[in-house]
Subunit: 185 residues, 2 copies
DNA sequence: GTCTATAATAGGATAGAC
DNA sequence: GTCTATCCTATTATAGAC
């Protein structure tokens, strides 16, 4: 037990839901500080470049989550269907059953969009390619694999939007079940 | 020519892109006023309850657009496929080829979500039911019709998110083409 | 390392002149 | 009806004490 204080990773984990609950512009320093349990000045000690840096590091951490929980598992040898279902479970957990927004959505609005666009586009590209590779290994033609991968992505992102707008995550749940049922085709 | 000044409808039309370019919290009075070409004080003359009222009226106008451009056409007698394709064209125009966000997305974030939830949920419900009704008339079972309608909605909403995050509307274009190709099934 | 205090700016909203 | 000027609060950010 070397440290009783919070790790940076833990701090970033606590910042994330603030950025996911509203847009980047909607996330205030007051909320961010409260979420971490520190004063605003203390946050600036850890993130000298302020909100933009917090956003960048939150996005980085989400990218690392995607890599370990999505991309690497998808690439492992083994039954593609099983890999796909594991991804759906990871997605369900990360979005808390459809109750949490995606940073791809909240960080692409307004001025923040310009600031983080490259990172966002890169995340989408890697997710899409990870899925497409899986689908090719499952026997789909390259063309069909690409199309299937994109559809999976759009269904997840669309379900997150609609769930939030309805204030009811059941669409998200139905969508994950449907993707599971459809499989890789 | 009774009036040379702007109609209220025109003003609301000019407010809309500000709310669609960022979240409700991200849309500032300065931007809103600039979009209309008036001072902030003049906007308050027209919208005494401020930003919340502007948001509500923008949402109302979007709801009327949906009714005239989506729901009523979907209900008209005639070839369901043709109705569906007309809807895809209207959607393409309204979202400007994938370059404009949906208010269902931007108004459901943060505090605004609580404020507008009922309206948003109602719009989604009507859109979904309009599509499901069309699918039933096209011969799908009620169960399949409901599922197809939801998938169409999620693909559109997902494509808008991904297009914006990538800074490239081509996903949206591909998605509309794919929905057209798939038809009602 | 965290706090209080404070600066500087932007945001939402109103008063009152024209 | 629109404007300038202004108010109040929130917001981002920093200085300096502990």
């Amino acid at each position: 037990m070397r440290r009783s204080k919070k790790s940076r990773e833990q701090i970033i984990r606590e910042l994330m839901p603030v950025f996911r609950g509203d847009s980047f512009s909607g996330a205030s320093l007051a909320e961010l500080a409260a979420a971490v349990g520190l004063g605003k000045a203390s946050l600036y000690q850890k993130f000298p470049d302020g909100k933009a840096q917090m956003g960048a590091e939150v996005l980085d951490q989400a990218g690392r989550w995607m890599k370990t929980e999505i991309l690497i598992p998808l690439e492992q040898p083994g039954d593609p269907i099983q890999k796909f279902n594991a991804m759906l479970s990871a997605v369900d957990a990360f979005y808390e059953g459809g109750q949490m927004s995606c940073l791809l959505n909240t960080f692409s609005l307004g001025e923040a969009g310009k600031l983080y666009r490259d990172t966002l586009a890169d995340s989408i590209r890697r997710w899409r390619e990870g899925l497409a590779g899986l689908a090719r290994r499952a026997g789909l033609t390259p063309k069909n694999a690409t199309e299937w991968a994109e559809e999976v992505l759009l269904n997840i992102q669309g379900a997150l939007v609609v769930s939030r707008a309805e204030g009811d995550p059941s669409v998200f749940q139905r969508t994950l079940k449907r993707l599971h049922r459809r499989g890789i085709a």
